[in-house]
Symmetry: C2
Subunit: 342 residues, 2 copies
């Protein structure tokens, strides 16, 4: 069932039917109702491609997920982010198109998005320091918003970010207040902007209290469980093990806990752990009492807010860039306690 058939059966022109269905005022309420009812009965819905061809818009948003071929890790927070964004798209009749692409091939994909008209805009994930994708998208002229920020990028663009630096400063200070003097950091890859900021926040916290920075207990890895295990293990096995560790992801924190317990130590008593928690749906941080003391912010909610931002930008291209900075909350769980007496 297409527009032509529909209009023939209704005895109206395609123009009128189209207008009736799309809410244009040039059609009487009586006919509009008749048309809408009829369309619903024959469950007509316009062909996306034809509509897109005519309007020049695709009603779709692109998400490009780079897979580092070295380690092939799929970002586990991605699922929750798109769950949030997906809600918004569904409510606005937008489609979400996903491109899995090898690190470095992203430019090709973005250009193809533009020239082929696949999507009306993109959400940029995992911005790195000096991320070249931002100027690229600006050059291409594809509307975009960024989940995070990119230090070193001069131009203005829309973003939503968590105040990672402050979150990690607060977490560090919290541990210092508990008496910890030797605090380790197990960070994400520090070419990622969020990890970079977290490190700065951690250093801020140490410096503010006059503690020194020791690169031995400052690690940076892809955020997997096993990396958390290895990193924490190495720190704990060293001559001057930390009494507290700051971790960048709840997944890494699981590995950290395993390393602690493997050594017969107790988390929260012998070693304190504070993690960043994206509130992933399948990895809730405990039920009543949080397992981990954590700085947390919902990545799903970020998905919701950011996709709304992009839709607004698409419908009004002249809209100036938006900036949303969320503060992470610091919630105390069972993984932290006073520094053990020496």
């Amino acid at each position: 069932m297409n527009l032509k058939e529909l209009s023939e059966k209704l005895g109206l022109s395609q123009t009128t039917v189209s207008r009736a269905l799309n809410g244009y005022p040039e059609v009487s309420e009586a006919t509009r109702e008749k048309v809408q009812l009829f369309a619903k009965q024959h469950n007509y819905s316009p062909n996306t491609r034809a509509k897109g061809l005519a309007t020049g818009r695709s009603h779709a948003i692109g998400h490009v997920i780079p897979i580092a071929n070295r380690h092939e890790v799929v970002n586990p927070i991605f699922g929750d982010f798109i769950a949030g964004a997906g809600e918004v798209y569904a409510a606005n009749n937008f489609e979400m198109v996903l491109s899995i692409v090898e690190d470095g091939n992203e430019e090709k994909v973005y250009r193809a998005f533009k020239t082929r008209g696949t999507v009306d805009g993109v959400i940029l994930h995992g911005p790195r320091i000096n991320d070249e994708r931002i100027p690229l998208l600006q050059e291409i002229g594809l509307p975009f918003v960024v989940h995070g920020r990119a230090s070193g990028v001069e131009t203005d663009y829309s973003w939503l970010d968590v105040n990672n630096r402050r979150a990690f400063t607060r977490a560090t200070e919290f541990l210092i207040d508990l008496g910890h003097r030797r605090i380790g950091l197990i960070n994400g890859l520090e070419d990622m902007d969020f990890a970079h900021r977290r490190r700065l926040g951690y250093e801020d916290g140490l410096k503010a209290r006059g503690l020194s920075i020791d690169s031995f207990i400052m690690r940076s890895y892809e955020m997997t469980e096993s990396n958390g295990y290895t990193a924490a293990g190495e720190m704990l096995d060293s001559e001057a093990p930390p009494t507290a560790i700051l971790v960048s992801s709840i997944i890494t924190a699981l590995g950290t806990r395993r390393a602690i317990e493997d050594r017969g130590l107790k988390m929260g008593r012998d070693v304190s752990v504070v993690t960043y928690d994206d509130t992933l749906s399948y990895l809730a941080n405990g039920i009543d009492v949080p397992i981990f003391t954590a700085t947390r912010s919902s990545v799903r909610d970020a998905g919701r807010q950011l996709s709304n931002l992009l839709l607004a930008k698409i419908s009004d291209p002249s809209r100036p860039p938006d900036h949303i900075l969320l503060e992470a909350e610091l919630t105390v769980g069972q993984s932290t306690g006073p520094a053990p007496a020496t």
Copy 2:
């Protein structure tokens, strides 16, 4: 830059240019090369919608992810699955479109996919027992393949599944061989077909050795860390705690381990654990020696195989249904050992 401009600049007709680019034989090699070179130089790529309109195909595959609004859990294996499928789509110039949809609204989405022509086919995720989506898709006439199977569905359809039943039988027997007589099960939701089969496999294993089935130590939940923790905790705190537990997901297994260690017990000595492992990239089961003894099969690889199947089916609709049954391998790790002496 579109076809028209391109052909004008080349001094050829649109027909010829189109044919040259799409590899039709009615054009000389000389002109084909000239055209292709020129197109590359001006980085021309055809408008997706226009091409789709003309051919009647979208070159896109749909993935519908239902979110149960009760618990809002995003399936964590999804990320790795689409990473595998995404590779295949990228290699075949297909797009992946994702729909996040509230449980129950899926019919609407599938119908829209068909009538709007959004996608050429779909991959069905998380089949349930008697899943109504399968007859629905057949009725609609949208090509599809299923990740898993649906017990109770009579008609034939293409699927790829792991032999969940045998995997769990083997795991159960493995534990029995180690001397365990009281073996718990922490399963996924048993309206999901894979969980149903796993339970059957578990029961098969017990029965074959003459062990009785106790529903108290047979649990079924959404596969989250905290559910694993709670379930294992309840079992361990009971009067007749199991000496071994079979777990349906590595995420749940993490919670199980936490419950064990919280009680001052040691996994692999006091309580053995065997888990199903989807080999998620960010939750690798140990580095050298596996943490968990596991029946495992790569969900990413499943994504690759299944998407290939669907593409084949789309390009040849008369192709009879394919069935791929993968066997999970049982790998021994540190989480299992002989049953403790009573």
